[in-house]
């Protein structure tokens, strides 16, 4: 009887997980999606606790309380730290999968219940789990800049990695052929742990978002493997959903950067940084925040292109003030969101939503580009690569072919950044030297705050 209840709650949980992701299809139903997810997870836990094989709940309760104690603060991190949090979370997920696989192996070994199929599933689970564990920790370290972010490469790196992989696979096969060769199990664990580290070392810090999404996918696959080990469809389904999500997000990122998976994983991007400045001194026009405010006040249509710099400077609330001032004057203000602006998919949307900017004002690249020629003033706030016209025109550029926001087609471009340094891709940007561009140098938060003040002063002057 209790078995039927367990089965039913697993079935309901799987259904709820699917609805949970389905309802993310638009912001209006998205919070319902979270509720469905929570309900599904509660049912899954409830059904599991009914399991007659559980003889004591005390350890579970203690571990769960510890988990809540750590999980809650992890959910309050500032939004800029979301990529790191996600990476750590994948690490935890991978760890859990790896540990469960190991424990299952030990238990079955002891009870003489190991079959080749079971060991095969366990090996896959453990390999993916521990690889995700260390890989995600490395990724989190690079994102938090605890670990040097630059790619570390050496001769024969790929050969070494593939050799290790071959050994791991051989050990796994050995286990499958004779499940009692317990001495091979630690070999598999050790190799997958080191594999996670070695795979991330040659990848630059800025490529971590793509790597994180891939690791998300691996964590999902580890859950699938766990499902095969425990003969549990719920795990398989949840894992497959997760795997699909990670895969699709990494494909979107690669495509929006016009790069291949291989290039991200083995390209050591960002290593050669700034082959830039073939030092043909070109001139940038520089202006003050006050000038920028004047341009804006006289515009009819304004497009704001936010980028990584806005996130770093935490300038979104100041941007909101400017947005308010301008819309109050009847100026049409839109935000142009590039799919890989910032450092994770959807980064800009979350920040602007945090600053209470309505999402109806956020337009995707494809929607806004046709209207860019009608735009009077385009404000580029800490964006760089995503508005680099070289992607459209310069066949030799490393970012050639990447779709960009056509900021250069606006009548006037105001670009806010701290220096003449390049962005993520390490290359020069002709937009900043263009006839119709003025640069306002400084930290985005400070500059935008000045612009907001200038606009307000003008208003009160006009009112007085």
């Amino acid at each position: 009887m209790s078995e039927i209840v367990t089965h039913l709650s697993y079935l309901a949980a799987a259904t709820l997980f699917i609805f949970s992701l389905r309802w993310l299809n638009r912001p209006a139903s998205a919070r319902r999606g979270v509720a469905a997810g929570v309900a599904g997870m509660s049912l899954a836990i409830f059904g599991t606790l009914l399991h007659p094989e559980i003889i004591t709940y005390s350890w579970i309760a203690i571990a769960a309380i510890a988990g809540i104690a750590v999980g809650y603060p992890l959910s309050r991190v500032p939004l800029t730290a979301v990529p790191q949090r996600t990476a750590i979370s994948h690490a935890f997920g991978g760890l859990a999968a790896g540990l469960v696989g190991t424990a299952k192996y030990l238990i079955w070994l002891h009870e003489g219940e190991l079959t080749s199929f079971r060991v095969g599933a366990i090996v896959v689970e453990v390999l993916l789990g521990f690889l995700t564990f260390t890989g995600s920790l490395m990724a989190a370290g690079k994102l938090q800049e605890i670990i040097p972010t630059r790619p570390i490469t050496y001769r024969g790196q790929n050969a070494v990695n593939f050799l290790l992989l071959a050994i791991a696979i051989a050990a796994g096969l050995g286990l499958i052929l004779d499940p009692t060769r317990a001495y091979l199990f630690p070999v598999v664990i050790a190799l997958s742990l080191s594999f996670g580290v070695l795979l991330i070392i040659p990848i630059g810090g800025a490529d971590m978002p793509t790597v994180i999404s891939l690791l998300n996918s691996y964590a999902g696959l580890a859950a699938v493997a766990m499902g095969f080990v425990l003969e549990n469809q719920l795990l398989i389904i949840a894992g497959a959903l997760d795997g699909a999500s990670g895969f699709i997000l990494s494909v979107i990122m690669c495509r929006a950067m016009n790069r291949s998976f291989t290039n991200v994983l083995f390209g050591a991007f960002g290593q050669v940084q700034a082959v830039a400045g073939a030092v043909e001194e070109r001139v940038m026009k520089s202006a003050s925040a006050h000038d920028a405010a004047d341009y804006l006040a006289n515009a009819t249509r304004v497009v704001i292109v936010p980028g990584y710099g806005m996130a770093v400077a935490q300038a979104q609330h100041r941007v909101r003030e400017v947005y308010d001032s301008l819309t109050k004057r009847g100026i049409d203000v839109k935000f142009a969101i590039h799919p890989v602006a910032g450092r994770m998919p959807g980064h800009m949307n979350v920040l602007l939503a945090e600053a209470d900017i309505p999402y109806s004002a956020l337009l995707e690249m494809d929607e806004i580009n046709p209207d860019m020629p009608q735009c009077d003033v385009c404000v580029v706030v800490g964006a760089n690569d995503v508005v680099n016209p070289a992607a459209r025109a310069d066949k030799t550029s490393p970012i050639f072919g990447m779709p960009i926001i056509d900021a250069d087609k606006a009548r006037v471009v105001i670009a806010i950044k701290r220096s003449k340094n390049p962005g993520f891709a390490g290359i020069d940007n002709a937009l900043f030297y263009a006839e119709n561009t003025v640069m306002v140098f400084g930290d985005a938060k400070g500059v935008i705050a000045e612009i907001a003040t200038a606009l307000k002063d003008e208003e009160s002057a006009a009112a007085a």
């Binding site: 510890a66 979370s89 760890l95 424990a103 959807g346």
Partner: protein, 98 residues
């Protein structure tokens, strides 16, 4: 290990992969960051396996392994759902003042 059961799991995997791709491709681009943290929370379904290991108490070592796994999974569940909801709460069709 029952063959029918293995294949029924393969069927589930095949179907869930189709469902996954269909559902994720429909997720609004606006919400890709919350999507990451929501799938994060959902993939903590590993909690099911962890609870079983920690509760069965076959021996000290596996109980400890299971306990750590429960801890790790619950951390993900709690932080994943909470941060997703925190982010989603910020999305508003119309700003409060405008």
């Amino acid at each position: 290990m029952n063959q029918d059961l293995v294949f029924s799991m393969l069927f589930a995997l095949m179907l869930a992969t189709f469902v996954g791709f269909a559902v994720i491709q429909n997720v609004s681009r606006l919400l890709h960051t919350p999507l990451m943290s929501l799938t994060n929370a959902i993939s903590a379904i590993a909690v099911v396996g962890s609870i079983l290991i920690a509760g069965e108490q076959k021996d000290a070592l596996t109980t400890v392994l299971g306990g750590i796994a429960v801890f790790a999974s619950v951390t993900n569940i709690v932080s994943g759902f909470l941060i997703t909801d925190r982010m989603l709460k910020m999305f508003k069709e119309k700003g409060p003042k405008s």
